[in-house]
Symmetry: C2
């Protein structure tokens, strides 16, 4: 569930940009904050419709981008196709291990990597706005099983 802080941040974001607080936006906000894993736009749409909400696909896509711009959601390509979204936990920068065997996504936090990234940006005069770090491979379970490796793209 979303913290009241996060909802306020979203409302402030909208007002600051002169954008409207619509029912669809709030509903989408609630929806993405009720999922604690990575989810794609289609599934989000489906989830909302199946609980009786009326919202269109275009609106879901449009407003997911808005959530990303507000800093409350992250949009990444973790699996072969399409984007996955996740809501952001205040200030916590994490990255992903993606198992190409079973599709499992594991999050990890590495302050060391964060620091090195900052250093690299400094060295290149680069002002970072977001980053993506994914390590694809086999999780402990799949590494043992002689299963066929399912290809997952960057």
């Amino acid at each position: 569930m979303a913290d009241i802080r996060e909802k306020e941040q979203f409302l402030r974001f909208l007002r600051d940009r002169g954008q409207r607080v619509t029912g669809e936006r709030l509903a989408l906000f609630d929806e993405i904050f009720s999922h604690h894993d990575h989810i794609d736009a289609e599934a989000l749409l489906e989830a909302m419709k199946s609980r009786g909400l009326k919202i269109s696909r275009a609106t879901v896509y449009r407003n997911l981008d808005l959530l990303v711009e507000s800093g409350l959601a992250r949009k990444q390509r973790l699996t072969g196709r399409g984007y996955l979204y996740e809501h952001m936990h205040a200030g916590q920068q994490h990255d992903h291990l993606v198992c190409t065997g079973c599709g499992r996504v594991v999050e990890f936090v590495s302050p060391g990597i964060v620091a090195l990234q900052a250093e690299i940006c400094r060295a290149h005069g680069f002002v970072p706005t977001r980053h993506t770090l994914q390590i694809a491979g086999l999780c402990n379970r799949c590494a043992q099983a002689p299963s066929a490796e399912r290809t997952v793209h960057a």
Copy 2:
């Protein structure tokens, strides 16, 4: 240009898997090794056709994947849509800074990050096969210019 070593590696890869050495595969190999930046499949196809080679789109896509499997090329989503390919320089693991202002892609190498990634994998019992690290932001040129930020997705 491809080192003779790399071509041999490719031929060996094909033979080891009982796959054939076709003219199309060799031509695509030469093509991608003649480009020293990130390039997408469509552009590669175009480049080959414009120099008189006969090759189909399906073949380009199929064999690019083959090159990736052989370890001679890398396939990543650096910009908004589609995959970009780059041939691999023997054993050199690099990552990317992507400017959301001008689209420029800068490569960097960080042994420190490589080491931390290995450590994280070890901690999770994860066997890595590939990874992607992209830092999106503004390059030194764009950070100063008050240009509109062009959105680039993960």
